[in-house]
Symmetry: D2
Subunit: 293 residues, 4 copies
């Protein structure tokens, strides 16, 4: 298929690579063009604007950092909306707000284009290894056509329904659950540290018994090693996602008190020098509040 | 070894059974004597009071529901403290407060007896199958002597240090982490339900990807099935444990804001007819607060 | 002075009336024109669009319900921005976001116009009686020129500095403090009711001793009478203001955990049928959560 | 009347003084005897033990710092319970738990003595000036007999009902409302400080308008001056009272989420060097969490 891919950050680069490897014709665009040089050598074309990238595309993926970035790439002067052919599909993989996803859906409908949401779970290594979990929603026939592309980037695709924004809600809720785990584990570790328990032994015990899941092992290790740099996923992005899940809750009058608490702790962390660290440094708030280093 | 076992509830019955099976001489006591009839047929003796049960014991286990029950059995008129031989050991497996554990430690020292804490993780089925995880702390030589007994009741024993109450802190923190998971998952499920997502598909997705741990599967199923009766572990016991972990935090000036939030939701649940349901009905608070049934 | 006044809701009507009474030439605009009929009889002109209303104005007041309403009236097709004469001043009295206030400031600067923020404290009766408290910020000379107008609508004007958005932050923080009071008093009343204390006697005691302030008397009476209709200030507006104060906090990395908690309770109230009641029905959440009616 | 007064701290000293001034025969006891020297010169007797102090008393007041202090003075070896004459009355003015108040009530009934709770609102200066507000509950005839004594120590007595512990609930709820005010105001002040608003001007504005109550003025001044030493009321006592109001809520299944939040912040403050400062330093937590000094 003729595929455009917009956004070559840590995640997008791996995803684009896997699409190329699956023998699709790839045209790339990134704000800083050089990020695409490696892929260009491997056969992808580089475009100067989103509009140029999508001119002949059957499908365009966007994988950008936040709502404003997606808005600029879609609705901006050289944005994709005006250039994408009628009948082509926009696959939005960015972690964006439910509100923006709905707006994109309507805009593409008004332009005779298709739109599905397909956010992903996994860190950059998983993206590189085509081991992402893809969570998607949208019109059945459109999803069907895109499945080979989604299979090329992930180990499994979950189809959630026909309303695209549902996939965004589910993605945001997943990040919320991870942040909850970081917060709770951070509080528990602070508590046992104050009683003199070795935190490494503590987390080993937890993750070899009840909490024997990859996500506990990954974040448990980051927390007890207090290894918050370099950031795999920046704290400010965690704060952004928490704001978005709270907004998603507000949209349907669903209070999410643990998310509210996490938001406040992300802000406390940001106000105290941790904005650019990994989001697992959220756990450090519990330590500081207990008088620990 | 000559072992006394006090407290034959859902958990204690299975534990006592496994000690008997490991060929120890067992004397039992329970507030309602009939609970011990099955074990008596299998070779255990039944005593009329805690004191009588421990008179010749090398080791006495207590597995009771809460602090007042343990206080009565240890310090009461026919309590074990006065009757347990010098040099014998009290293995406290109940989920009790750090404060009481410290008090027990001191009382036994004053009577020339030993004391270790050995609370367990696992539900009644795990107790019956000798699959518990045992978390223990106390003086090294005493622990050493008790290890065969702990091995008889669990699949693994974690030794945490020489201060017994550390094991109680760790046990309480573990229950806190489970309650956190119930709360967070309850909020996430309420959110996606309001967006029309099928909660069973949602939890399947979570537990086959990032949250692939037994504890998520067990509680995820209870939450989406809203199957809160019969109670495997009563909500009021969950509230009790949350109160104890908060008190443990207060003892060392460690705030646990997620535990505070959980405590408030347990109270809300109790005030609205859920006191005797399973503690996973904590998740129902998020549903009700979002206007769901 | 030649004054335009846009927005004739419960608050705006009283404010406009007092400007007219102070002998200013008033041109009015409201989405539903009839709201202005009474004032027209008293000498005010009625315009068909915001643009028409401000064409000859020296000063234009806006008193609208929320950010989208203000955006429409300022930036819309027949909005005031294009029509307001150079050198004229926009006095923004609506309770809006800090972000929008900053945006308005910049837009007016770009058009050679002036901008001050002048939100007010007080309920409709205070607006009618010219008893509002006005909180204002902006360039000193502009404020000076507007002072007679602000004096005409309020009993006192507080000048907070030269950055207009500061007045918006202070206004939002004030509403947050009122909501905090409603929440705390709601929790306290629920507690004492469960112990059988007469809530009227309780609030009388509080407001005749330590909490002898009008705001406690007003809201204390609403809470114990559970008189939430008709709404003096709708719960959804309280929710909106709470969202805005949280956003103001997020803008400077200041966590506001009590505001987070209030937001969650407003959502719970909205999800359970109280969206259109008075915002003091926030207190009802504490009652319901304690199992009371 | 023959009155015994036990506990001559900052509050008790003023109260005892006013009883003496009202011409009652006063016998005093305090753990450190010298505190009573001034009153002894003015005509009071000094006793060596609580029992000795109450031997001939018609009424005994206790005004002590916490539950353990009251338990020791009532139930200890030389405690008042064994020595107080049948038919005499214990007036408990300390801020104690509902649970202990109930226990005292029963113990006195079993000894043929009377018991009322009469906690007070006000700081030491109000105690000295007989300007306290007294909140009392107990059997009608007993209250009637004690009224002249209560009138001697306060400016007004509120009678709340016949169950003594109700007065304790109300007292605890009042301290909770003050702590809520400190917390909310602390958050609001941190917010506006980050926007560059002068906090003195801010609090002046609040307390000259909506929040025109003594309690806002007192605590507003302490917060903006960050004047937390010497402690008028120590942070650890504020923490204790918050624990007691939460326990009172738990006793009737009434969640108090603002109290939970305050408890966590008191602990954070205690863990970070503020345990011995005034409880208004609770406000400092909001400042620190926002990255302010």
């Amino acid at each position: 298929m003729k595929v455009a891919f917009l956004g070559l950050g840590n995640m997008g680069l791996g995803m684009a690579h896997n699409l190329l490897r699956a023998n699709h014709q790839l045209t790339l665009w990134n704000r800083t063009r050089e990020k695409g040089d490696g892929l260009a050598k491997a056969g992808a074309k580089l475009a100067n604007t989103p509009a140029e990238a999508v001119r002949d595309a059957e499908v365009v993926f966007t994988m950008l950092s936040d709502d404003p970035a997606v808005e600029a790439v879609v609705f901006g002067d050289t944005g994709l909306l005006q250039a994408l052919p009628r009948g082509a599909t926009h696959v939005s993989s960015s972690t964006i707000s439910v509100e923006l996803s709905t707006k994109l859906h309507k805009a593409h409908q008004a332009h005779g284009q298709h739109y599905i949401a397909a956010p992903v779970f996994g860190r950059p290594e998983a993206a590189a290894a085509a081991k992402l979990f893809v969570v998607t929603a949208g019109a059945g026939d459109v999803l069907e056509k895109c499945k080979p592309l989604l299979s090329a980037i992930g180990q499994h695709t979950f189809v959630l329904g026909s309303e695209p924004e549902i996939a965004n809600v589910v993605k945001l809720s997943g990040n919320f659950l991870i942040a909850s785990l970081i917060e709770s584990l951070g509080e528990a570790v602070a508590l046992v540290r104050k009683y003199g328990v070795d935190p490494h032994q503590y987390v080993d015990m937890l993750t070899s018994t009840l909490f024997n899941a990859p996500v506990y092992k990954t974040y448990g290790a980051l927390i007890v090693d207090q290894k918050f740099e370099p950031a795999g996923f920046k704290l400010t992005l965690g704060l952004k996602d928490t704001r978005l899940v709270l907004a998603a809750g507000e949209g349907v009058s669903a209070p999410l008190p643990v998310a509210s608490l996490i938001r406040d702790h992300f802000l406390q962390a940001a106000a105290n020098g941790m904005a650019d660290k990994d989001w697992s440094s959220l756990s450090q708030v519990a330590a500081l509040n207990a008088g620990l280093k």
